[in-house]
Symmetry: C2
Subunit: 709 residues, 2 copies
């Protein structure tokens, strides 16, 4: 919650990997929330001391009960708090006094409930800040560490599906959803070492858990469920850490839609940043965003096998032509390269099975299952000569029997071991035990062929994105850069400020006399536009305050006088500053650059094509500031109308590099001035043909706290 | 295969519902393809006579074996043929001679293999056409009728998952995929009465099976898998029949992508129509297109319950706020209306559970499962006062135990019975037997909440689309309509032809002299454009052969002379017909109307916005001709840039009705001239503000067989 770190703040390991624990509000009844975790701890594998605290009993579940935590004799790293809301604060104070490192607070009735609860929760935050004790919750379902048996949760899910340590770590804001996620994961053989639900986040928030996972050697894959975070920079840092440690993060962020966002707001006290900003953040750090638990688990399962290739060539093997076509459809829709097999190998494979499909998809036909060595030879050919980065194979129910599964695993053993970096995902319909056998042999099993291909695409997404380099640091601004304004300024001044940051802007100057105007044009020597400057005149075009495409002294002088005259006629009381003379750019593609200062994440830079693209199609993309040139290019390539910049309709390709450079500089400027600005618009930003640059024509900087209609 | 129906062609019921059957090539070994179906028939529920034909044995699997089909004493409705390719033709001839109604040909080695196979297959088609015997396959996995026990297939899937009659019917071109589909369906409790795989389609094709299902009282839901059909009108008729009988068709058509299409072409001998045309067809007849088997089965499962509401208000009930948000996201993305609960009821529900979410999603919190009557009261409120057309509820693992499932079903019994037309889909994690209990009680169970919402959206899609009326017949063309040209004609003539069909075209006339030009303008009295007319001059604009925006006699006369002069200068040998004088339309939105004559489906009409929308974004949509005004409006509403027509950027709304009328007329014209045209372009078709009409400015009709560069 707070960004201030008190001196004595305890490390998160006290919460997630404690050596000694206590349950406060411990119950003899294992069905109650104070009883179930105690039972889990006593009957499970937790090897450190477990204490029970209950003011009204001598013993609980067969162990002695202490009156308060202060009466516990030994050291206590972490406690579970299952007492009524009204006594939680005193309990936490006692814990802090005792020197407890962390408390898991199940109790509800805090910020999610009423103003009294909001007050209590704020007090919890203060205690944590002051004493350094770490708090999970309140109003959460707790946490577990499957490796040590620290099962600090009252969910019944781990009764039904006992915890099994493994490469996955889950962090969820929602308790019920976190529990659902764990259950479905466990049912499908996804093995989790860590599981945390953060509830109201009085202290520990999601990002800190992600950062912990990012540094934990046991964790290979991070799965996150969130409705919205309050500490944007914290999340950004955590995702960057995971990225640098090459740990795939699969993120389900709900609240994309209007209705969803409303539900999120009424469900949690969290203030959600706008959804586009999350997308920007996720793109920046290679996070894979999913829309369903199922997709999350498909990918987690596939990541669990370990291979994440950085090439996008996918090999599709099938025993049914139809399934092959479907997989090819899905692969293309997922941006994968369904590269053809080398012609020589196609001939060779045709000799093995005359009716096989050999291009890719490679269709061995159902007959190959009568002679599995054929499948082996096809796979060898695909891996060695096709050079595929990943393989998805459709074997359906045919490979789902014990007889075939054992033979198939044995037959493909050498290939599986030789190409350890290539994911092999099999679409097989089989009972769970046979699925587990395939998994042990290094395959991922997903029943549906489309889902199998999409999981392969996610692995390739991670592999590819871990290859790219994050900028070591943001580039510096020019030495003579101007500050962002504190008050609303005219477009001329905004243009100058942005130009000082290195963003190319169209030549333009304020002329106070007709002579000024002519001499400004003489300095530029290209066609110019004239526009009246006055904060009192709103509809400049309508009153004749604008003239376009002037390219000789006489016309410019006349236009200047006409414009001033028009201003005086229509707005007799207006204060007229003069007329702006600016370079006309006619041979460019219209784009829009912008910045919005997100309340959660800070400044985000926007890019889009102008005209109908931005106004009708909302074809824009965002990145959190600051970022480097590679990221800027990635950003530009995301817009739907990108063809316009590549040179659509016979036009020359645009100077994309100039856009990228301008975006980077805008991002650095916005980042440095994050406290001052509310938003920036450079619209239009005209992009000329390749090699000829680009220039912003109109600019507006809205300072923080200024309302603009 | 053929459109000609011989006099004595047998009805498809001989194939799908025979009363007496024989297996030719019957084997004693139940593992062989001639043995397995015989075993299915003898040990299953088929009640009619079953004969075995095997030239080399006295008995097969305990019943007498006849030398040939001609030796079988009784009548035979259908046979299974499992003999080598080389003797299939003679076998089929014998069957025809015997008066057999239909043959299921498993044998492969026909058109999918080599030229010999192509010949043989063509002979099979001829025998069928001549004698009327119906042929399924060759190279297919057969068919079954679960109601009668006619199990004419050698797939082992029905060994593993015995057939159970039910409301679903499956038709698949691919055998292996069809078998996979059946297995996964059966595993999930989807009950199929009919299952057909059509293989090479020497005679019976997919569409005929769909038409049969559309008329079969047992069938409530039709599930189809196809790689591409060869008889487009046949498919259209079948889908129309299903539509008129209000039977939902769920269609997986693969080959969307480039790679997919290649694989389809190499897998089957089928000539696929372009994918956009399939989309057009599916939209026209309310078919739900899916991209995966999983989605197909989710929807089939949901359809099986029977309710398909025609309203789009979805109620979301949840025990986890997070899941509620996710469901709301998915619902909005699926185009559903996540309507809020009435305010009064929100207050009322808050009284029942103070911390509940009550807007919609309605979050009863996990506590409600301790007192199921609370869930009942919330559900009552949602159905009675919220008026939702469908409900999706997230209960996860919590409702997956026997204790809770029995109580929940009992508690909600009255509500379930009272709102029988509202689908109720529950997201529950439960063992299969408990899932079956919920299903029996009238619920659809889908584990994943996102998939549950998407299935609800599909039911609403069907309900809504069955409400709309198909045009009883296409509107007539004006009496004086001109014929489509046989040769390539100039734009002026094309314009006149289309105008004669009732499509509004900009006023324009050919002028042979400057005086002509002026008098044409005087007839129109609006600004005009002049353009040189000569089939010898290609780049008219570049040579100065075009002049725009002329609105007085003098300018027009000068422009005419200049244009003719320019033509003569640049193309001294050109035959110049004159100059077209046409009305300029400047206050309109640029759109494009077109027709392509698809080789499979015939003429399809295209609509799109002009400029970047069609050229950069390919923002167009299609419908098969002919269609009525309602369908035209639906079509227009599908384009991504539709906001442009509603009046984007302060513009007035466009005259959408004029577009719709033009599309209908174009569709009727294209349909009537299907034999003559290859394509039509009306580009641009300028649409003026509402009430002011629209007009095509340029037009091109390309006749069949004419090559244009």
């Amino acid at each position: 919650m707070s960004n201030k770190t008190p001196m004595n703040r305890r490390p998160l390991s006290k919460l997630l990997d404690p050596k000694s624990v206590a349950v406060i509000g411990a119950s003899d009844d294992a069905k109650r929330i104070g009883g179930r975790p105690l039972q889990y701890l006593l009957k499970g594998t937790f090897s450190g001391p477990v204490y029970a605290v209950n003011a009204n009993r001598e013993t609980v579940q067969g162990i002695p009960a202490y009156k308060t935590i202060l009466d516990v004799p030994g050291e206590v790293d972490a406690v579970i708090i299952a007492v009524p809301a009204a006594v939680v604060i005193q309990t936490v104070r006692d814990c802090a006094k005792k020197g407890v490192g962390a408390a898991v607070i199940f109790t509800s009735g805090f910020a999610e409930q009423d103003t009294q609860g909001v007050e209590w929760q704020s007090e919890l935050t203060q205690i944590s800040n002051k004493t350094g004790i770490r708090l999970l919750g309140p109003n959460c379902l707790g946490t577990f560490n499957a490796k040590t048996g620290w099962l600090a949760t009252f969910t019944t899910s781990i009764d039904q599906y006992p915890v099994r340590p493994g490469p996955i770590a889950i962090a969820s804001q929602s308790g019920a959803f976190g529990s659902h996620l764990y259950t479905v994961a466990a049912k499908r053989g996804v093995r989790c070492t860590y599981w945390v639900t953060t509830g109201n986040e009085a202290d520990v928030e999601l990002s800190e858990c992600i950062a912990y996972y990012a540094q934990s050697p046991e964790v290979k894959v991070i799965a996150v469920y969130a409705e919205g975070v309050r500490n944007g920079p914290g999340l950004r840092d955590a995702l960057e850490l995971a990225y640098r440690n090459k740990k795939p993060v699969i993120f389900q962020k709900v609240g994309r839609s209007g209705a969803g966002a409303e539900a999120a707001a009424s469900h949690t006290a969290s203030l959600a940043g706008s959804d586009e900003i999350y997308d920007a953040l996720f793109r920046q750090y290679g996070v894979f965003r999913v829309d369903s638990i199922e997709e999350l688990l498909d990918i987690a399962l596939a990541c669990q096998a370990g291979a994440m290739p950085s090439g996008d060539k996918i090999g599709l093997l099938t025993i049914s032509g139809g399934a092959g076509v479907q997989m090819a459809d899905t692969a293309e829709a997922s941006g994968l390269n369904v590269a053809e097999m080398p012609i020589e190998q196609q001939k060779h494979l045709k000799e093995l099975i005359p009716f096989a499909g050999v291009r890719n998809p490679v269709d061995v036909t159902a007959q190959a299952l009568n002679d599995l060595t054929l499948i082996k030879r096809f796979m060898e050919s695909m891996m060695e000569f096709g050079g595929y980065d990943a393989v998805v194979a459709f074997f359906t129910v045919v490979a789902g029997s014990r007889v075939i599964s054992e033979q198939l695993i044995e037959t493909l053993k050498d290939i599986r071991e030789q190409y350890v970096n290539a994911p092999m995902i099999l679409s097989i319909v089989a009972p769970d035990d046979i699925v587990r056998d395939y998994e042990k042999a290094g395959y991922t099993i997903l029943e549906d062929p489309a889902r199998a291909v999409r999981a392969a695409a996610a692995l390739i997404h991670f592999g590819t994105s871990f290859e790219k380099n994050l900028a070591a640091q943001a580039p510096a601004l020019p030495p003579n850069v101007m500050q962002a304004p504190d008050k609303l300024r005219g477009e001329d001044e905004c243009r100058k400020i942005l130009a000082s940051a290195g963003i190319p802007m169209a030549n333009s100057e304020l002329a106070r006399t007709a002579k000024d105007a002519v001499s400004i044009w003489q300095g530029i020597k290209v066609p110019v536009a004239l526009k009246i400057v006055s904060s009192d005149i709103l509809h400049k075009t309508e009153i004749g305050g604008v003239a376009l495409n002037l390219n000789n002294a006489n016309d410019i002088e006349n236009a200047f006088n006409r414009i001033i005259e028009a201003g005086k006629t229509h707005y007799p009381d207006a204060k007229i500053d003069g007329v702006i003379v600016s370079e006309m750019i006619t041979d460019g593609v219209e784009t829009v650059l912008g910045v919005i200062n997100d309340p959660i994440f800070g400044p985000a830079v926007m890019f889009g094509l102008g005209g109908v693209f931005v106004e009708v199609l909302s074809d824009v993309t965002f990145r959190l500031a600051p970022f480097d040139i590679t990221e800027a290019h990635r950003m530009i390539s995301e817009i739907k109308g990108i063809k316009m910049l590549y040179g659509a309709r016979g036009a020359q390709p645009s100077d994309i590099n100039s856009i990228a450079e301008a975006l980077v500089k805008l991002s650095v400027f916005a980042h440095k001035n994050a406290e001052k600005i509310s938003s920036i618009d450079i619209n239009p930003f005209m992009v000329k043909p390749e090699g000829k640059g680009a220039a912003g024509v109109d600019a507006l900087i809205i300072p923080n706290g200024v309302e603009v209609n």
